[in-house]
């Protein structure tokens, strides 16, 4: 893996990362993938390092992914979730992290429901922080695993790099940190991004904010795209008036086989999970091995998180 252009202390968001930095993580992840295919899935790379997973939101896949990523590289991994911590007792975020920091972990992986929480902590404390999702702001490891997955499929699309690649991010981009991170990451790598969804669920002035094109019509939005990324629709969006019903949402913005026919030949479908079948994506699309790469995303997530921990623990050159 050699030494690469990585000298960041934290991984807070895709907005900060340059093309070489992203490539350095993708390269590291691509080589670490091999570990996960071995019979004995463990390397001693991070022996003696401590990783704390601090999750202020429910999460199964991301937390498990970070946990396994640390363990497969022999780091000591501690999981803390809100339910079992002093957060319920009224402790402030900064006090909780200061306490953890006093135990001298190498990396703290944090998921938090408030946008900017990790950036706030990074400014006030010393620990190296990985953002595992903050509010509706960023989820950089998700974007990196998506980029790795797309990268793997470039040959099937007859492409050599991200340049000119068109990705449609479909659904509730407003509340989605995944949409923001992938849009920023893809733009940095030279791809084109569309946000496709109902008007109230697209971030205000998204064109300027993220350099994307906005479509409210699915057929037009999917026209000629190489990748379709469906976003999870939080079901509580109905009760607060963003959309009238699941039935209506699926009828106009569901990712269906018929709509995929508008995409470029060989186009494939991604989803950050967990999926709502029959809401943002039709079951037959989600389950179609020719079209769906959802499970590859999960496998790549593990590799990307190994690469991120590896870089931030300072054993991968740079810092």
């Amino acid at each position: 893996m050699g030494t690469h252009l990585w000298n960041r202390k934290h991984l807070l968001g895709m907005a900060d990362l340059g093309r070489e930095e992203i490539q350095s993580i993708l390269d590291a992840a691509a080589s670490l993938r091999e570990v996960n295919r071995r019979d004995i899935k463990k390397v001693p790379t991070l022996r003696g390092k401590t990783v704390i997973n601090l999750f202020y939101e429910n999460s199964t896949r991301t937390r498990t992914s970070f946990e396994l990523a640390g363990k497969r590289m022999s780091a000591d991994v501690i999981n803390m979730s809100v339910a079992s911590s002093s957060v319920k007792k009224g402790e402030t975020l900064i006090d909780t992290l200061a306490t953890l920091q006093a135990m001298n972990p190498d990396v703290v992986v944090i998921r938090h429901p408030e946008s900017g929480a990790q950036e706030f902590l990074a400014r006030h404390l010393d620990a190296a922080i990985v953002n595992a999702g903050d509010g509706r702001h960023e989820h950089p490891t998700q974007a990196l695993l998506d980029l790795l997955t797309i990268h793997d499929h470039l040959p099937l699309l007859d492409r050599e790099g991200f340049a000119g690649l068109v990705v449609a991010v479909c659904g509730d981009a407003l509340h989605s940190r995944v949409a923001r991170s992938i849009a920023l990451g893809l733009r940095t790598m030279g791809g084109e991004v569309r946000f496709v969804g109902p008007p109230g669920l697209i971030p205000p002035r998204a064109e300027e904010a993220f350099g994307v094109r906005v479509y409210h019509d699915m057929e037009a939005g999917l026209d000629g795209v190489h990748v379709v990324m469906a976003l999870r629709l939080q079901l509580e969006r109905m009760s607060v008036g963003f959309i009238p019903s699941v039935r209506e949402y699926f009828a106009f913005w569901g990712v269906t086989r018929a709509r995929l026919a508008r995409a470029a030949p060989g186009a494939f479908v991604m989803h950050p999970g967990p999926i709502n079948r029959g809401v943002e994506i039709a079951s037959d699309v989600a389950d179609d091995p020719e079209r769906s790469v959802i499970l590859e995303q999960v496998a790549n997530g593990l590799a990307v998180r190994m690469a991120v921990l590896y870089r931030l623990c300072g054993v991968g050159g740079g810092r």
């Binding site: 907005a15 402030t92 975020l93 900064i94 938090h112 408030e114 946008s115 900017g116 929480a117 950036e119 706030f120 400014r123 006030h124 903050d134 509010g135 509706r136 702001h137 960023e138 940190r177 923001r180 971030p203 205000p204 002035r205 998204a206 300027e208 904010a209 993220f210």
Partner: protein, 427 residues
């Protein structure tokens, strides 16, 4: 025995009369006796003001002093100390204390505290509705009698249209001013910064500009109906300035104030989730900021007021959306406003008018002037002295300034209240 002070050699500017010339001021027993070339009586104290501007002490009609109830954020003593350091000799303080200033006993308490511990003039603003709850009107007449100078539910809008109509109507009985925190709650719910490109990038729920302008539009209709005197607190969006301009052109009793942070900064200051750039209304877009400058230049916005809102560090050292709204402003009011003069938005006379006689008249106070016979509330400042705002060196209790690190010009050298020096430049 009368105490005589002569302020000598300064450039005296009195926006109330339009006077602007090098002159001396003779003050006896706290009252201005002569402006011009008075002889210095024997035993008089002489304050040299060469190279300084001598202006009426500033009048800030929008301040939160936090006492009673939030003394850990600020007190009447500390808040008035900050005012004196900023050249502000009169503040009107908002009623969102604990208990709320919705009862003459609270007003009396504030006035007593200010008399005992304050160093500048303090005039309480009473609540429009009991407990700021937006349901029942307060005893406006009794509150005025106790010393209130206007009414506001600041921090919260008077959202109910029927109630706002009643408030504007009833206040007419006393010719009282209703100050509105204009924000339609159903449009601003959950928002914690201006809705726009920056809120999208930061993933923060936005407060759309229309939340303010629809409320101002509605209120102006109600002013038309009732004839009540109406003032928009901390105006921040282009649409609201337009609405006020139209109302004033039609002769309606409508006015508005702008805070320095709304004409000096934009929502870009929030980047990095800086909670010291969080206030209500939020920092707006560059277009809105330009509308503030234009509103000042056109005379639509007649008052500059700080919305000085002190907070303890713990209220700001949290996740952005959980942080308290508000910034301190008393000590940066003058230098940041003087940027308007250097940028050609206002002349020095006009800039000082917006911080002296204009707010004083709205509140019915006989301050903000250097007329002979007026109480000698003065600020002496060096308009060109450059300094850097340092939160750690502010004079109040709180440190939450959005101008930390800003290079400014214009330094207060002395502040006098009724002829007594209450601040004697220490930077």
């Amino acid at each position: 025995m009368s105490r005589v002070v002569v302020v000598k050699g300064g450039r005296v500017i009195d926006p109330a009369s339009g006077f602007d010339a090098t002159a001396d001021l003779l003050i006896a027993d706290g009252v201005i006796r002569e402006v011009g070339r008075p002889d210095v009586p024997t035993g008089a104290e002489v304050l040299r003001a060469d190279g300084l501007v001598v202006a009426p002490g500033l009048v800030d009609m929008h301040v939160h002093l936090r006492e009673p109830g939030f003394e850990y954020k600020e007190t009447i003593a500390g808040g008035t100390r900050a005012a004196a350091a900023g050249g502000v000799t009169t503040v009107a303080c908002m009623p969102n204390t604990k208990p709320v200033n919705d009862d003459p006993s609270i007003t009396a308490f504030m006035r007593q505290k200010a008399a005992d511990e304050g160093v500048v003039n303090v005039h309480p603003i009473g609540a429009v509705t009991k407990g700021l709850e937006g349901r029942e009107l307060t005893e406006m007449g009794l509150l005025l009698r106790a010393g209130c100078v206007a009414f506001s539910d600041d921090g919260r809008p008077v959202a109910d249209s029927g109630l706002m109509r009643r408030a504007l109507d009833y206040a007419r009985a006393f010719n009282a001013l209703i100050i509105q925190h204009a924000e339609e709650p159903s449009l601003s719910a959950h928002g914690c910064m201006h809705e726009g490109v920056i809120s999208s990038r930061l993933g923060l729920p936005g407060l759309p500009a229309v939340a303010e302008s629809v409320m101002v539009d509605r209120d102006i209709r109600l002013v038309e109906l009732t004839g009540g005197r109406y003032h928009v607190a901390h105006i921040s969006v282009a649409g609201a300035v337009e609405a006020v301009a139209r109302a004033r052109a039609r002769g309606l009793p409508v006015s508005c104030e702008v805070a320095p942070h709304h004409f000096a900064l934009t929502d870009e200051a929030v980047l990095g989730y800086d909670t010291d750039a969080k206030m209500s209304p939020p920092l707006r877009s560059a277009e809105d900021r330009n509308a503030m400058l234009e509103g000042l230049a056109r005379g639509v916005i007649t008052v500059i007021a700080t919305d000085h809102a002190p907070h303890d560090p713990d209220s700001k050292r949290v996740e952005f959306c959980h942080a308290s709204n508000g910034v301190v402003g008393l000590e940066t009011l003058l230098p940041v406003s003087l940027e308007l003069v250097r940028d050609g938005v206002l002349d020095l006379m006009g800039c000082l008018r917006a911080m002296t006689v204009a707010p004083a008249r709205l509140l019915g106070l006989d301050r903000g002037t250097l007329a002979v016979g007026a109480v000698a509330d003065l600020v002496l400042f060096d308009p060109d002295a450059a300094w850097v705002v340092d939160a750690a060196r502010l004079h109040g209790t709180a440190r939450n300034t959005c101008f930390h690190g800003r290079r400014v010009r214009g330094r207060v050298e002395k502040t006098l209240v009724a002829g007594q020096v209450v601040f004697d430049g220490d930077r």
